[in-house]
Symmetry: C2
Subunit: 476 residues, 2 copies
């Protein structure tokens, strides 16, 4: 039965997309619904999101963020106030046209993002420099009418947080934009064990209505990039469109400067594709709803279940721990623990009890350790820290060994075709070159990283003088 379970997954080398879908389903993260393009987040999937939310929210609050909740519907007139923004989002929103039994005078879209609502709110709520800064965030769901959907990566509805801030000065807005990008980057590394590249999006790739968009880009196991979080500086563009003004200390009426920043349930997709293997999901301990699963061996023998329960009780002071006392075979339970990505498995049977020991198995490396039962708490506590660290290192090594440098167009094409990963290359700054590169290779500009290098002097595509080193890659 254990084999059967594992057999049911396509191997990632054979078909990565199918492997991904198999893991999502077999690890019980999402479920299907009769609502086309929408998914159910099942308990195992939602619990990961709860852990992300809790830990990210605490980091937000340390920087002074306050949570609010704004309406889920946006009147058409409000959406249209900022020209670039409406062009970016209007083609992909869902429209409410009837309320109760009546047709609405003005149709409302389900929020695809809430810049316009925050501007409308700030316009009413901000009058003086004393009201600034506003550093608000909301946790909610948004709807975007995508044509093709994939669990976590692209869905007609997804959960996210969206921070929206208003500041007295351009400098302060820029500072907050970068501050939140750094919060995201640290969070990905320390909590999700995912190393990211921080940088700025090109003009072509920036958010509709933004002056500048910053991003964190992660590399998946198959060598494709995943945009994992973005932070936007809006300057005073939205403020001018919505009339968000304040009276400054000098008694002058001025426009505020705004930012927004968000991460989504897409992060769960990143966890799957960065850490997973052919046995299933691998959860970093910091976001594992169950960190330790105790599997009793020969559980019908006297004292085994009692001992398992005793260990659970003891371990609960250092970890989120459960006992699998179902009537499945141990082999099936092992495979299930692996499929669900539980970081540590503890096996305890009659012989272990006799020897006052148990077997501890790491999900990330498969390593088995025999542990003296008296030392179980400290061993498991240390092991969780080690696994978290090692998973980050493994992901970093994969990322680094799959980051290539292309000095010219031939090298670029060769890498795209034969070595999936990030490509660092020089760029002239022209959108035309970006478009050509995308058309010919499918690779897009992921970001202009903060850490610039001088690879050559000329654009990898057109040969004209280069302005920036860029990370390219095929992306989700």
């Amino acid at each position: 039965m254990a084999d059967k379970k594992v057999e049911a997954i396509t191997s990632m080398e054979e078909d990565f997309a199918q492997w991904y879908t198999d893991v999502v389903v077999k690890a019980d993260l999402t479920g299907y619904t009769s609502v086309k393009g929408f998914m159910v987040l099942k308990p195992a999937g939602y619990a990961i999101w709860e852990l992300i939310q809790k830990q990210l929210d605490a980091r937000f609050k340390e920087t002074g963020v306050e949570n609010v909740y704004l309406p889920m519907l946006i009147p058409e007139g409000l959406l249209q106030k900022e020209k670039d923004h409406v062009e970016g989002f209007a083609p992909e929103v869902a429209w409410v046209t009837h309320g109760g039994l009546n047709e609405l005078q003005e149709k409302l879209c389900v929020r695809p993002t809430s810049e316009t609502l925050f501007c409308d709110f700030y316009q009413k709520d901000i009058t003086s420099y004393r009201d600034l800064p506003k550093v608000y965030n909301q946790w909610c769901s948004v709807v975007r009418w995508e044509k093709e959907t994939r669990p976590f990566l692209r869905s007609r509805e997804f959960l996210w947080q969206e921070g929206h801030t208003a500041h007295a000065t351009a400098e302060e807005a820029q500072e907050r934009t970068i501050q939140m990008l750094n919060v995201y980057a640290d969070f990905c590394e320390q909590i999700l064990a995912i190393p990211v590249v921080k940088g700025q999006k090109t003009e072509k790739e920036k958010f509709a209505g933004a002056v500048a968009t910053y991003t964190i880009e992660a590399l998946m196991h198959d060598g494709k990039a995943l945009q994992s979080g973005t932070s936007h500086n809006f300057g005073d563009g939205f403020a001018k469109a919505f009339g968000v003004q304040y009276t400054d200390k000098d008694n002058q009426l001025k426009y505020v400067h705004q930012t927004s920043w968000g991460v989504t349930t897409r992060l769960i997709g990143a966890i799957i594709m960065v850490h997973g293997d052919n046995n299933g999901l691998k959860l970093p301990p910091m976001v594992a709803p169950t960190q330790v699963m105790i599997v009793p061996i020969q559980q019908k023998k006297e004292g085994v279940l009692e001992k398992a329960e005793e260990l659970r009780e003891r371990l609960s002071s250092v970890a989120r721990v459960k006992v699998d006392a179902t009537d499945k075979s141990p082999g099936f339970k092992f495979a299930e623990c692996e499929m669900r990505g539980i970081p540590v498995r503890v096996e305890v049977g009659p012989r272990d009890i006799e020897n006052n020991q148990c077997v501890v198995v790491r999900r990330d490396t498969g390593e088995k350790i025999t542990v003296n039962m008296d030392e179980l708490e400290s061993t498991v506590a240390e092991l969780l820290v080690t696994i978290q660290k090692d998973m980050l290192e493994a992901a970093r090594e994969h990322r680094d060994t799959h980051t290539y440098t292309a000095k010219n167009w031939d090298e670029f094409k060769d890498i795209v075709e034969n070595k999936p990963g990030f490509i660092k290359a020089m760029w002239c700054g022209e959108t035309e070159c970006e478009e050509n590169i995308k058309a010919e290779t499918g690779a897009t500009t992921r970001c202009m990283p903060f850490e610039q290098e001088q690879i050559t002097d000329t654009c990898v595509c057109c040969g004209k003088p280069a302005k920036k080193m860029v990370y390219f890659g095929r992306a989700y």
Copy 2:
């Protein structure tokens, strides 16, 4: 300035509805939007909801509840599957008719509640008795196209949790229905300091599609009732409509038995109307985002702000505490603390520092205590417990002294007219009498309480033999 702030509130004796609106606005709980009938939950309001959510969610999880997330949109065909349910909700839903640039083949409503989605999901997810019970819950927002709206009490969108469970037997479903009602009742008493009456709704008042609806009913300061949480037993009605079946141990295909239960941001309205006074909001410490506000006196004098900060640091181990170091006057700050309902105010000025003491003021009673600074942590910690307890007792006393008994129709009418509160009276069980009572007095059946009393033998309205003692009242 302090006076000005307080003056701005209508007194509750003069106009309770206006007093309520004034408190909501002045305590900065909600804001207006350009989206008609929708509100913004501002930081002070949302933070109360976060504390409710955190503490209620922990209680749910202790009973085995798991959180999930289902789509926010429901296809029309799905909504129509259960006849009573669609009749109850169809007139008040918002319809999405267009996705992106195209008209949808089937229109979708924004969820007013998610029974139909959970049934659809359970129908796919449940096959065997091994899959039962399912005890799922989601935290989300829902939309109901109300004609008249009031902050927290009735709004076109509100935040809530909705639990939806599926069980093998009718007994287990009934047990869960009552278990969750008890969770709500305990939560209201222990966390919100609001005593409630537990009971069953009449046929007329029960939820669309339910076999039985149970409710907790609270009494507001003005003597009106507020339905504060409900728990429904659906029997196998929804299961039959949606084909939610499982194979039992005896290999027979059987229908599941379902429940649902929910509380909403309406609870914040209850907190305001049960505890508030003419100085503003009064928050029970357990749901006060700021439990203690330290107000420095003569803060420009040397050492005052430093001492205030030192006390904040010390108190942060026992309470959620802030210092108000703004340039407002102490009187203004006092009034603001009261308006926002902060349970404890600590005043510290040069003379206090000299005497190694500070003044501690209770929001609930106004009592001032001079406290030795060395004992501040223990005094404040104890005081918060005392305030929480005293607020429940005060609310209970108000509820009890405003609960009346009507033995006959004349008494009933007299009480409704002259003594706002709960009315306990006997009822024959006929909907006609309920409707007559409502038409003539505006009072509705709040519930048939679990704790029955035998007041008389006959229905207070028609004089026929009585079946149940009922709580009546005018309600929000």
